[in-house]
Symmetry: none
Subunit: 199 residues, 4 copies
DNA sequence: ACCACCGGGACAACCCGTTCCT
DNA sequence: AGGAACGGGTTGTCCCGGTGGT
C-alpha cells in the first residue's frame, strides 16, 4: 500500500525535525525518532539508509522552501530602495515562521563544518541570497537611485543584517520586535547609500 | 607539584578546544581529548567533573576574552561616528583571531538551545554587546552627531552586522575580505544615521 | 521468530544465575554474562533494561519455585506433627536443589538491605513461610496434638531452623548431612511441643 | 605523631564498616570511605595496602568480638538445660547489639563464597560455636539431664536457631520480639530433649 | 613517618546505529 | 515492515601507585 508507506515516511521526517531541533542531531537517537513517529526501527531503515540521510533529506526540504520564499519576493517594481523596503516589510513573516525551525538551522551549520556535502548544500543558498541582494544593489546603482558603493559588499551587509537579527531572535525570541528591528536596519542602510540623502 | 597539575589542565583545555572546534562537542570523545592532550582519563576526571564542564570552562574563557577586546576599544575619543569607525577598523583582528574558534561558537549556540545554563551564559554577553553599541548611539544622538534614531534598534542592527558577517566568514572564509566588508557596512550604517551626511 | 527470542532470554538468565552464584552480583559484568550466554550486549539490553532487572527476574523465578514446593506439601492429612515430620523428610530435596543456588540467596539478602524493592520481594515470602508454619502449629494446638504454645513464635522458630541449617550447609556443604540434621531438629522441636511426648 | 596516625586509621575503619554495612563492599568506593573518614586517599593507602585489606581487618575485629562474647557466657553452673536457658536469656543483648552490624555480617558471608581466606575466617567461628553448643549437649547427656540425642546435630540445630532468627531479625527488625522468640525456641528444644519431659 | 595531590589505565554499565531474518 | 540481535563505543568511576611536601 503506497499511501501508508508515504505516511510513515512523513511521520518519520516530522518526528526527526522535531527532535533534531529540540535536542540536536547527535543527541537524538534513531530509537527516539521511531518512537516519536510511532513506527518500528525496521520501518525506519526501510525508508532511509541511515540517520544521516534523514538529516540530508530535511536539509534539502528546507533549502527548497528557502528558495521558494526567495523568488516569491522578486516581483515588486519601482525604484530599488522601495523594493528593498517592501521586502523588509515582508520579512516579519520569516521571523515568525522560522521560529521553531531555526534550531534546526543551527544544527545544519554545525554539521556543515564537518561534512563537505552538508557544507556545499548549506553554503549554496547563502551565495544565492547574497547574489540576490547584490543584484538589487547593482540595479539601484545603474538606475541611479543608489550611490556607487561596492554592490558585493552591500549584498553581504544586507545578508549579515538578516542573519544576525535572525540569530539574535533565536537566542532571545522575546527580547525585542525583531522584524521591526529588521525594517529599521534596512532603512538605515538605505539612508546611507541612497543617492538623495534623506530627501 | 602544582605546576604540573596546571599544565595538564591547560593541555586538556587546549586539546578540547581543538577537537570541539574541528569535530563538534558530541563527536569528540573524552578518550580522544585525553589522547590529544597526552594524559590519561584519570587525569581528565581529576581536573574536570565531566565533559560538559570542560565545555563550560571553554565558554567562560572565550567570553572573558571577548569582553576584554570589547572594552579595550572604549577609550577612544572624538565624535561617536569616528569612534565607531575606529572600532570597525580594529575588528579585522577579531575576524582573524576568531577564525579557528568560530566552529566552537556554533557549538555554543547549538548547546544554548538545550541547556539553560549555557543559554544564560551565552545570552548575557550578547546583551552586553548590544547595550554597548546602544550606548554609543545614544551618545551620538545626544551630542548631535547622529540623527535621532531608535538607539536600541541601532545597537541590535550593529550587532547583527557583526554576527552576520562573522557567520558568513565562517561558512566561506575565503569568499571575501570580511573585515573590509565589516568596515564598509559600518560606514553605510553611519552614513545613514549621521546628522551631517559625509560633510 | 518468537522462539529464538525466548531462547536467548533463557540463555541470558541461565548464564546470569550461574555467574551471580559463583562470583556475586557486583563482580559479574554484563559482558561476562553475555559471553557466557553466547549473545551480544545488544541482545542483553534488548531483553532487559538493566543488569539489576535480570537480578529481579531471577529473584522472582526463585521465589515462585519455592512457593510451589511449599504448597505442594500442603496436601497431607493425619495429625499435624506427622504432617510436619513428613515435610521435613521432603526437605532433603530442597537442600540438594538449593545447593548451587544458595550463593545467590545470600546475594538477595545482601541486596535486600539496600534496595527497598528487593527487600519487599524478599521479605514477602518469608512472611508467607512463617505464616504457613504458624498455621500448622495452630491447627495442631486446636486439634489437641500440640501443647498450647505461642504458634507465632513456633512458626518463627521452625523457619529459623530451616534458614539456619540452609546457611550452615552453604558455608560448609560437606560438613554434615544437613537434611538429616533438619529432620532431627524438627523431631526435637515436635517432641518439645507435642501433647503426648513420643507416645 | 603516633596518636594522630592511630586516629586516622580508626576513622578509616569506622567509615568503612559504616559504608560496607550500608551499601556493601563493592558498592563502597575508596574515595567514599576517605570522604566519610575525612582523610585523603593518600592517607588511606598509607594505612592499608588495599580496600580488601580493610575488609579483612574488619572481619578480624568482628571475629574477636564474637569470641569474647562466646566465652563470657561460659561461666554458669547447675544443670545443662538451665545453663542453656540462661544463655538464651542473655541473647537479647546480642540481637540489639548486632543490629547495625548484621549487614556487615551478610557481606562477610557473601564474600566467603569467593575468597578462600575469608571463607576460612568466617567458617571458623561457626565451627567453634557449634562445638560450643555440642559440648553443652554432651555434658547434658552424660550428666543425665538430657536424652541421648545426637549431640552434634543438636548443636547444629541450636546454632541454626540462633542464625535463623538473627537473619529474620535483620530482614524485619520490628516484625517481632526476636530475643523472646529465641528464648521460646530454646525452651521448646530443651523440652524436646530433656530427660524428664515437662516435669 | 605521614599525608595530599596527581595521574594511570582498566573496565563498568549502558546505548547506539545498523543489519538480518521473517 | 517488524523485531531480534550485533558489536563497537560512550561517559564516567575505580583502585591504586608515584612524587613531593610537612
Amino acid at each position: 500500500m503506497q499511501q501508508r508507506s508515504e505516511e510513515t515516511r512523513t511521520h518519520l521526517l516530522e518526528a526527526a525535525v522535531r527532535l533534531f531541533g529540540r535536542q540536536g542531531y547527535e543527541a537524538s537517537s534513531v530509537a527516539e525518532i521511531c518512537a516519536a513517529a510511532g513506527v518500528s526501527k525496521g520501518a525506519f531503515y526501510h525508508h532511509f539508509p541511515s540517520k544521516h540521510e534523514v538529516f540530508m533529506q530535511l536539509l534539502e526540504n528546507w533549502l527548497k522552501v528557502l528558495d521558494i520564499q526567495l523568488f516569491a519576493s522578486r516581483a515588486s517594481q519601482r525604484t530599488t530602495p522601495e523594493a528593498l523596503r517592501e521586502m523588509a516589510g515582508m520579512a516579519s513573516g520569516i521571523f515568525e515562521v522560522a521560529g521553531g525551525r531555526l534550531h534546526m538551522f543551527l544544527e545544519f551549520w554545525s554539521q556543515a563544518n564537518r561534512d563537505p556535502v552538508v557544507w556545499e548544500a548549506t553554503i549554496a543558498p547563502f551565495r544565492r541570497y547574497q547574489a540576490f541582494f547584490t543584484s538589487f544593489f547593482e540595479n539601484g546603482i545603474t538606475e541611479g537611485s543608489l550611490k556607487p558603493v561596492d554592490a558585493q559588499n552591500a549584498g553581504r551587509v544586507a545578508l549579515a543584517l538578516a542573519i544576525g537579527l535572525l540569530l539574535q531572535s533565536l537566542l532571545d525570541p522575546k527580547g525585542a520586535d525583531w522584524s521591526a528591528s529588521f525594517k529599521d536596519g534596512i532603512d538605515m542602510l538605505l539612508d546611507g547609500i541612497s543617492a538623495d540623502p534623506q530627501k
